[in-house]
Amino acid sequence: MTEFTPWSSALGGLLIGIAAAVLWVGSRRIAGISGIVANTIFPGSAGEVGWRSAFVLGLPIGAAVVAGFGGPLEVSVEAGPLRLIVAGLLVGFGTRLGNGCTSGHGVCGLSRGSVRSLVATMTFMAAGAATVFVFRHLLGAFE
């Protein structure tokens, strides 16, 4: 169970929106993180590893800056190694198959009024909620 944090969460969301705006206004690129990560590590025909690796490198730096001001980040991982591996494989494969994740579809796509992104976002939210329901409430594996 976690505490409801409307202010810091909204402020964080504001920064996320600004970050996506910087990339779009500055370089006309969409901040879709799963695509950026995949094309950094497995560069396809699109190439352009440079800006992508700079963006990916920036993510932990930004998180470290926040930790520097506000104290260590709380990262409580409830899942064990096996579940983390299965989850990672599904997230990696699924975001490539579905062409995006919470940033590309959830933030950028919805803002653009994309129907594909709306369908994707509703689908992964529902699948995520259903998975938590099954594991927490039906199987009781988390608590």
């Binding site: 169970m1 976690t2 944090t5 409307p6 969460s9 909204a10 402020l11 964080g12 969301g13 504001l14 996320i16 929106g17 600004i18 970050a19 996506a20 910087v22 779009w24 206004v25 500055g26 370089s27 969409i30 590590i41 800006w51 992508r52 700079a54 963006f55 990916v56 993510l59 932990p60 930004g62 998180a63 800056v65 926040v66 506000g70 260590p72 990262v75 991982v77 899942a79 990672g88 599904l90 997230v91 990696g92 494969f93 699924g94 975001t95 490539r96 198959l97 579905g98 919470t102 940033s103 950028c108 594909r116 689908t123 699948a127 995520g128 998975t131 329901f133 594991f135 927490r136 409430h137």
Partner: protein, 127 residues
């Protein structure tokens, strides 16, 4: 060079936003997805604020990105697999990469598996 600087500034800001928002904590993400339990709606605030800012910036440029159109099975199946993985661990790609800053072994395991999943897709795509 210019694109690299823009991307770095965007990435740092994005990572800071994820950390401040609480998204780097999988327990908080699972609390958001746990609508039938002790629901923590914080992440809806993250989404609403981010959407608001980007929607304004996107319209401001009067430019449009080229993306595939139409809903197909790939989109729905991919989003479903992603959602199940998200619900299993509480990590999606951005927050997981940002949380690497903590050096947590759980985060490292997840990120390595996620990259393997992306690699598997490359193989699948070519098959």
């Amino acid at each position: 060079m210019r694109d690299g600087i823009v991307a770095l500034v965007s990435g740092v800001t994005f990572g800071a936003g994820l950390a401040l928002a609480g998204m780097t904590n999988p327990a908080k993400v699972l609390g958001f997805l746990d609508v039938a339990g002790a629901w923590d709606p914080s992440l809806a605030f993250v989404m609403a604020a981010a959407l608001g800012v980007f929607a304004v910036a996107y319209r401001f440029t009067r430019d449009e990105v080229e993306t595939p159109s139409g809903v197909d099975a790939r989109l729905v199946v991919g989003a479903t697999l992603f959602g199940v993985g998200w619900g299993l661990a509480g990590f999606c790609p951005g927050p997981a990469i940002a949380a690497l800053s903590t050096g947590s072994s759980g985060v490292v395991i997840f990120v390595v598996a996620m990259i393997a999943g992306m690699g598997l897709y490359r193989v699948f795509e070519k098959a």
